[in-house]
């Protein structure tokens, strides 16, 4: 891996981390409301996976999607404005944290029905295939979603019809308070792909280099074969499920244990070992990120509220279809 690429991965992870740390503050300050699901601890997954995508590829994510939106290139300003409920937000204030959308980067949201994004991703891939577009679809979901019928139906459809979907399972071991072993009879998620004849792989989701490499393999496979791929990223959520979660279901020690594998320090030490980074560089990253985050907050603060008379706009399209 090139030093530049490693730096870029680090930069992306730090961006996500600092952006979300700011979100927590803003939630306490009541600037952000509703459900807020933090990605902290899992940054290596979005940062690593999204390297494998090209501009025309499509992304479908969940309600825990700040990281994916940021890594995909959705502007931090517009994401923050969205969480402030402002018109300038990437969903005009209608979506909030769980429903970030961005047409320019083919970021199809932001789906808060667990498993609900998988059929949509399958359909986007079908459209790509039928139109012979050079496009793959990248679909993120948690290990909890694997128990939903939507997982089963989508994996089968994508495999049966040979559709270019990269299914990325973010296995952070918990679905809210439900440990994987209490939601799946077979806890090896990637092994389930065999039931659909889908190629699969599991990767250490705390190691961004490993994720980056695995995603590259996955994307290459999807692009070459035209068929789906399941990549299971084994990761961990450091924070509560959402801001309302008292975390009764896991010992603090378990969280502490995982924090030793925090993807950011992990990458930094490996880069240090190879002489790819020093403190100055880290500071530069931090200050650049801090500026971006501050700028995003300022943008959000300065934003305006959609006039209530526009409430029912976008229930239906203003225009007829072409």
């Amino acid at each position: 891996m090139s030093p530049e690429h490693a730096l870029h991965l680090l930069y992306e992870m730090v961006r996500i981390r600092r952006f979300e740390e700011k979100c927590v503050e803003l939630y306490s300050a009541m600037k952000i409301r509703g459900f807020l699901h933090l990605y902290i601890g899992e940054e290596a997954v979005a940062a690593g996976v999204l390297q494998a995508l090209r501009p025309n590829d499509a992304v479908i994510a969940t309600y825990r999607e700040h990281g994916h939106a940021l890594a995909r290139g959705v502007s931090a300003q517009r994401i923050m404005a969205e969480m402030f409920g402002k018109m300038e937000g990437c969903s005009r204030g209608r979506g909030g944290s769980m429903h970030l959308f961005d047409a320019a980067t083919h970021f199809y949201g932001g789906n808060a029905i667990v498993g609900g994004g998988l059929p949509i991703a399958t359909g986007l891939a079908l459209a790509a295939k039928m139109q012979q577009q050079e496009r793959i679809v990248c679909c993120f979901f948690g290990e909890g979603a694997v128990a939903e019928g939507a997982f089963h139906e989508s994996m089968n459809l994508a495999a049966l019809w040979r559709l270019p979907v990269m299914f990325i399972c973010e296995n952070n071991l918990y679905a809210m308070g439900t440990a994987l072993s209490r939601s799946e009879s077979l806890t090896d998620i990637s092994a389930k792909a065999a039931a659909y004849k889908v190629t699969a792989e599991a990767v250490d989701g705390m190691d961004v280099m490993a994720v980056d490499a695995a995603a590259a393999r996955a994307a290459a496979s999807v692009r070459t074969t035209g068929g789906p791929y399941l990549l299971e990223c084994r990761t961990y959520r450091f924070r509560a499920h959402s801001m309302f979660d008292p975390e009764l279901y896991r010992p603090k020690s378990e969280v502490e244990e995982w924090k030793k594998r925090d993807p950011i320090p992990l990458l930094i030490s490996s880069m240090r070992r190879e002489g790819l980074i020093d403190d100055r560089e880290i500071e530069r990253i931090e200050s650049s990120v801090a500026a971006e985050v501050d700028d995003a907050v300022a943008f959000a603060e300065a934003g305006s509220l959609e006039p209530p008379k526009e409430l029912t706009r976008f229930v239906y399209s203003d225009r007829r279809s072409e």
Binding site: G93, G109, T122, L126, S154, L157, Y316, S317
Partner: protein, 328 residues
Amino acid sequence: MSRVTYREAVRQGIREALLKDPRVFLMGEDVGAYGGCYAVSKGLLDEFGADRIRDTPLSESGFVGAGIGAALGGMRPIVEIMTVNFSLLALDQIMNTAATYLHMSGGQFNVPVVIRMATGAGRQLAAQHAHSLEGLYAHIPGLKVLTPATLEDARGMLGTALQDPDPVLIFEHCNLYNMEGELVEDAGPVEISHARVAREGKDVTIISYSASLFKALEASNKLASDGMDCEVIDLRTLRPLDSETILGSIRKTHRAVIVDEGWRTGSISAEISARIMENGFYDLDAPVQRVCSEEVPIPYAKHLEDAALPQAEKIIRSVRAMITGKAA
């Protein structure tokens, strides 16, 4: 003009759309090799191939979701669900995704998907194949709900639906597929924003849609011979409802009976009655009445199924009672 069935009219609509727009395709269970569970798509597989007449596995949620995704991705899918009861398996995708996408994304992503399904009772298919849930779907903002009762609409509404940038549901009553009539060969898309006065009259307005329309017309004919002159409205579109045509008719007749194959409580007929209450109250000479399905899962036995459904006889009784002022 040529003589066709409702089934053929729907097929013509699909065929025309496939010929005209390469983005259009049909997907659903057994639309291809089997020819469609109600034989609507028979022959289309041979003409258009398995890519565009796409058989799906039994995965209602999955393939409806895939249809939504394909629409987002630039295609114009026609998704067929065999029977309205099975559509409940896909309702999450329809309500939580298709109907919300545009709004949730602040206007960025519209979903031009058309979802067709067979609805209704009358074929002794019992409690898991015979309901009328189009009224339930009409409750959902973000959707349009069409209920073609005529050959023109069976054929033309599909084209119109495909031109719509947003999700459109089309409910085809299973008892209409064999209905025959004349249809002009180049019948094209039809407008979908207005109800239609299917029979003019001055004494009472009977408001109906889909297969019930024909029971309303049958009742009107019998009532005419008793000197009661009914105006009959075919709603055509349940969402958005064309209140104006309804209210206009009531301003003339001052009386209304609504005929709806949905279960009475919470049916679309309740909505119509409520709108008349709100906007036509002072035009009324008598309270609006409803003739709906009994509140029972549709039973198998013919005589029980018949008893469960709105019938011309019940409509006649309701109209007669209203006009004579005696309880039905």
